[in-house]
Symmetry: C2
Amino acid sequence: MVGAYTAPVSVEESNIAKERFLEFISTKGLRLTSQRMAIIDTVFSTQEHFTAEQLLEWSRQRDQSVSRATVYRTLPLLTESGLVREMDFGKDYKHYDPNYAEHPNHNHIICQDCERIVEFESEKIEKLEDEITHNLGFSLKSQRIQINANCEELKRMGSCRNKT
Amino acid sequence: MVGAYTAPVSVEESNIAKERFLEFISTKGLRLTSQRMAIIDTVFSTQEHFTAEQLLEWSRQRDQSVSRATVYRTLPLLTESGLVREMDFGKDYKHYDPNYAEHPNHNHIICQDCERIVEFESEKIEKLEDEITHNLGFSLKSQRIQINANCEELKRMGSCRNKT
DNA sequence: GTGGGTGCAAAGTGTTTGCAAGTGT
DNA sequence: ACACTTGCAAACACTTTGCACCCAC
């Protein structure tokens, strides 16, 4: 299966991710505070990549009392649960991707012109990666592919619609 | 071609990379100072990944006058030339990989147990990536794959030789 | 009630930059 | 000579943390 998936995540799907995280918290004996809930609701109601700063802003729209510190203290929990992945696109700040619950092996194409990010999956590549890793004496735990690309649009028309 | 390449880079090869960088500097109308030369010599005489701090330390062994600022000012030139690649392994600091002159498409397997990093190449994967990228309306400029894995060694013997 | 959680502000850390002096071309 | 480079230290930007108070369980 190859292709970008741009359809909105259904309510059921995102609730499943959220449920899984609540279970994760509970299993670890951690507490469910209103601030954490605001952050969790925010994370699992979007499929957009976000930064710590954006997460703070969005979460504050749900609960004004959320602080930057709590956001930074919650992010490690999210990544530890495996439901959110930390990503580095070469910027100063980290990006977080909440789409790993439904698509644990997806990858990214980053357009150097318009900074659009498209996600894709490929079973063929996954299989090759697994083979290679095994042949070199390891067993694959997780993988990430980052492809830097140019818009065909830019090449054809000199600029692309998303360019700021 | 799949496999780690661990054989030392020949003197000729590393000199070629260095020559190419000197040409890059000259083409841009930049100057060749003794500090820059110490940094360049350091970078192109190793195939190890390094951090800014390590590069500073090693360069100072060649020229005591190299400062941290000059290292940080030279790194962007190195990456801009395409001969060195900035990499993020999820640590606080960036790593730099000087092996892109000879193997521009190589990728990394990072062992979560012993932190060993193995490089590999795969033409099959490259071809698939190119196809996928093109099908999604982009043209591939560069790519990087990062595989997190576990040592078979660890699984078999409970620990692995490189574990610190 | 208690141990984890929170906000605030200060501290930390890797990286960048202003400035005056130095130097390759 | 001129413009690019340098070292130093201060400045930055993002992230982490100490502390006193708070609250979920």
